[in-house]
Symmetry: D2
Subunit: 368 residues, 4 copies
């Protein structure tokens, strides 16, 4: 673990700051190698995939989310110094949240935050517990992605695998590359995407919300990332993924299904292809003994349905200590899956960049 | 993350050392509060639950696994200084492993370790990648468990939930407390336990192996453990759980099932019971926003089937770079679930102790 | 140590960012307890003591250095979330520094930075190696000072002990409290202060610069701060003090003089005063075995003369690899001592706050 | 800083454990690259330079101090896994220390330890605060030294510069190499050595003790070690040096003398020698901006006189809270300087190894 809770990584280190309705949301990246070409456009591209107000399916909050790089970049390249980045908060409507101070919303962190921080936590828009904080992860992830791409040609692709029980099927690698961002739910199976959208609209009209699963695959990863036993690649990835709000499960390769298999079914036999050692199946999901195998990394992240629903719910009034009812108004996502897709990619990129530097697969200075 | 890969925790810190067929396996605990009564018997009790050779279902390797405390305890109490503990390795038979240096076993870390450590890793008995390394986790976990029990009255109970597709059902909290250690598979549902044992014996006779799921529940945890966003309680627990060999998935509360629920189904309504704020359901598994809610912590860990199987398997010969066959002889578990039960408890205890100290719920000195 | 180089602390963690001529200089504080009253005025007061352009003795660069708190404070109190603070750079004149890219200034980091960061470091105004970066330390230190003052009534006072060989003498604790900020050199001995100012003006007119010593005393520190052996109080203080540019030596209590004493002279005898265990002398400088003793903390920090001098100097031209001459123009301090005084206080405060939290002497939430 | 207090380093990490009169003293090294030839003889050579009982000038405690490597080395080479090493304590006489529990020895950590650890600290032989704990540093340092020597040809040499006010003078690099271990006080100036020995014997007969200064020079260090600002090379070295018991001051290059110099005197002019950029003087002591310059690293460490003296001293009786007298019997060093020499070398080696790996100057696997 490290230090206090808002810092992750050992060599590619990310510090998160900012609140949903405060002045800004941002991140500092410390440890990025010097010499990487980096512009605000590189960050903006990723941020735009996460920002609200871009589709009828997601939150209508209107945020430009225009990134500013405040330090660590000089003449278009990273300098080796900390990179501070942020977006200013603009479309803020805090008033609806005042109610929840005394009547904590089921499924949200209102109650635990109140106890843990003695009533001093910023409650506006969920404060530090808002999904908006993931904008900082996306900024840092954009740097990590560019670094991994430039140095190791690593490709990271997440997508909606399942929403509301509807699962994408039969898609190819090309579908992932070409179709995941061509529909509003970021699903590589277009038929499933249509069904998902229908389901979302239906549930939205009922004032309810939907969970789902994001899958992420990574191609081009060399053998050797991961520092067993406690900083195993799966250990560090899962740690970072559970930092995303609403995540309730993480699995690699065959995952929970492996629990039902025989060893003879689950073991991935080795073979030689193009002079390289590969496996003929990939139940391991690209990780053995906590170390990357050179096969594609495959992981899945289960998201619960958003806790903010328009339906009446039971809670307690903390001043009277009696049961009370609550209706959560505001601007919310019916499902987080589409906007979670770039966040999962970002978080995976951060951890992989950190491990690639730790394993000396990326040097401290990038010379052309 | 921290430092190199063999250290975990921030205030209750565990350093793991030792190899399967080296001189010993051990752990150092740094940061344990002073004044905790601690004896070798406290550690031994937990180690005995993990040790091999105690049942026909598990590895017949005969290890006394007698713990020695080398530092940090004086006159029967912890001093606040690092506690170094170890067990000596005795029943070592390294010869069968020599073959795997050139012919990596499918599902094991042989190949990745060879690449990552340049051929210098200790291959005897799997070396540092052996399940035997978890003995160090159990030692450290025993200290954490005692600390949590003495100071906060926390009770941590893991058990076999599923083996080879057979799932425990209908068990009560009393069943968990009283029956999980009364059968060889550590399952609170005795009917399921019988089925599991039958299945294990059947698969064992075929030279194959079985996966499964360990569930863990924790009672008595106060509100407020967890340091969002990156050191959230689920983040740190999952990180530590993936450090256990063979783990492929981790979920909390409703977990992957939450992905299929509506918000109105998944949200846990608040109510007041005995003057305390509680929830009427526990789909959150005791964690909201990365912080403990005061409800029972519930998590599940998916284990793949052991990679060592007696069946012939396909691998590659790394000297000739050609496909080759391999049969993995040796003394192995048909399923790791029964022995994983105390390991999961230990790992959960380590993280909870760390977080309880971080949240100042346990002081640096225990005064009677 | 931790992580990469721009992060310090374990529980009260400071992240430094920004460059001398970039957009801003700032800091993030993570781990500050919730509930501390904090305003921009609290930070500004300390920053104003460090800012340039306020006296004829120091750099004429005109910077308003107006702090902005971007996160972590809500309704006038800290929330427990990261506090991001910065000042914007305004009075920037980078052109004179272009020469030094190829002709590194003696005594500066130009050459080592070029090699270490492969020519990608921001050279404008010394970039990340500028004394301006200490503005971030002062911001973070202001938070730490307020925290220590409110919770433990700790008082931290640094002052010029020596400049250009002229040493303050015979001053009392009252002099320190009342006079150190009443003269331009921040010296509690007003006669020495006058001499120092004369010396500075003389040396300035010759285009040269002066070193000196800052002494710092801390009152009100309880027994028990410091985590031996590697995070001893002196270990962590010295580490942080050497992070200040131009520091070449750090000593505690009798310091280097202790090397010349007999044990019978250096040992501080214990006695009882007002029912408390104290020592009759304080050669230890308030630290024994790496732990605070409850006596005043006393430390001294040696600063070299500023490397930027108007005199002609010998360097090398890195393109021709031949010797070359250089004159360092620009706006510089003749001595850093006066402006180093608030920086030393800030750095000491940061480490003490971190250790007070680690030793559980400050709780995670401040309740009135 | 890191974690709790008994861990240092980020990539070459050292964990210290053990007490003076407990079962053993040891260290774990995590992060040592794989493939380094390493034997117990490599460690023993360094340990023998530190062990007691080898001269009439130092403690007569008889300890064989025979190192055992318990993990991390296989077939004569490091594996990349944690290296646990220890020496068993044998010649233990704890009884004289019982008195000090209630009557803390002036200059020792007895009193602060009692308060900080609530009376639970191991008081036998000073427990965790004993100089004996430095045996663990020497073990870890021996690994670091070998690593630095094999990969970068770095040479680390410490020696007595001053004892009891008598200072070595006029010695050459050859004298350091050849004479520092040829006399009992480890001084490169043999005339000074004789005087020092005379002084030690005189002071010893009076039941008193002597302080001194150890100087350390490092040759062969490349440009670029050090991670400003908080993990600057001087920051991390000073932090580690203050972890050695009895250290009261640390300085680099001109150190405290630099405070008295003009910039034109203190700046080291650059020139070209053998096609390399060097400086004609080395007031910087091999560090600028927190980064190694390629010139020799030069540092000095001030040690106070040992606190254990045979003379009667004043202390307090903690049960009656009245003044009391005390005489510290036992087996003690009259000065720690000779035995501190290998400890300083070890500590410097640990930090340099860590930084060389962090700067990617040493790879994770050493291939021949």
């Amino acid at each position: 673990m490290d230090l206090t809770g808002n810092i992750i990584g050992e060599r590619f280190v990310v510090i998160s700051f900012g609140e949903s309705h405060g002045r800004c949301v941002g991140a500092v990246v410390d440890g990025c190698p010097a010499g990487l070409e980096l512009s605000e456009a590189d960050i903006q591209r990723e941020l735009d995939l996460r920002k609200p107000g871009t589709s009828s399916l997601i939150s209508p909050r209107v945020e430009e989310d225009k990134v500013e790089i405040l330090s660590g970049v000089f003449e278009g390249r990273t300098t080796g110094s900390p990179i501070c980045m942020l977006v200013w908060n603009k479309d803020v409507d805090s008033e609806p949240y005042r109610t929840f101070v005394n009547r904590p919303r089921p499924g949200h962190a209102d109650y635990v935050a109140r106890i843990k921080y003695g009533g001093f936590a910023d409650w506006r828009g969920g404060g530090r517990f808002s999904g908006r904080v993931t904008a900082g992860l996306v900024m840092a992830g954009a740097v990590a992605k560019k670094l991994l791409s430039k140095t190791l040609n690593v490709e990271i692709m997440a997508y909606a695998l399942e929403i509301g029980g509807i699962r994408a099927r039969g898609f190819t690698l090309d579908d992932i590359r070409n179709k995941r961002y061509s529909n509003e739910v970021r699903c590589p199976d277009e038929a499933a995407a249509k069904e998902m959208i229908g389901k979302i609209n239906e549930v939205k009209s009922e004032g309810d919300s939907l969970g789902g699963i994001v899958e992420c695959q990574v191609f081009g990863l060399p053998v050797g990332l991961g520092e067993p036993i406690f900083s195993s690649l799966d250990s560090d990835l899962s740690r970072a993924l559970f930092a995303i709000p609403a995540v309730k499960g993480v699995e690699f390769g065959a995952g929970f299904t492996a629990a039902k298999l025989l060893g003879s079914q689950n073991n991935d036999p080795y073979t030689i292809t193009d002079g390289k050692v590969v496996t003929t199946t990939n139940n391991a999901g690209g990780i053995l003994g906590g170390i990357s195998t050179g096969m594609p990394l495959v992981l899945r992240v289960a998201f619960k349905p958003p806790s903010s629903i328009a339906k009446k719910q039971t809670t307690v009034d903390l001043s009277s200590m009696k049961e009370a009812e609550i209706v959560v108004r505001g601007r919310h996502d019916t499902t987080v899956i589409p906007r979670a897709v770039p966040v999962v990619e970002a978080v995976v990129a951060i951890i992989l960049a950190d491990h690639a530097i730790r394993a000396a697969l990326i040097p401290p200075v990038l010379r052309d």
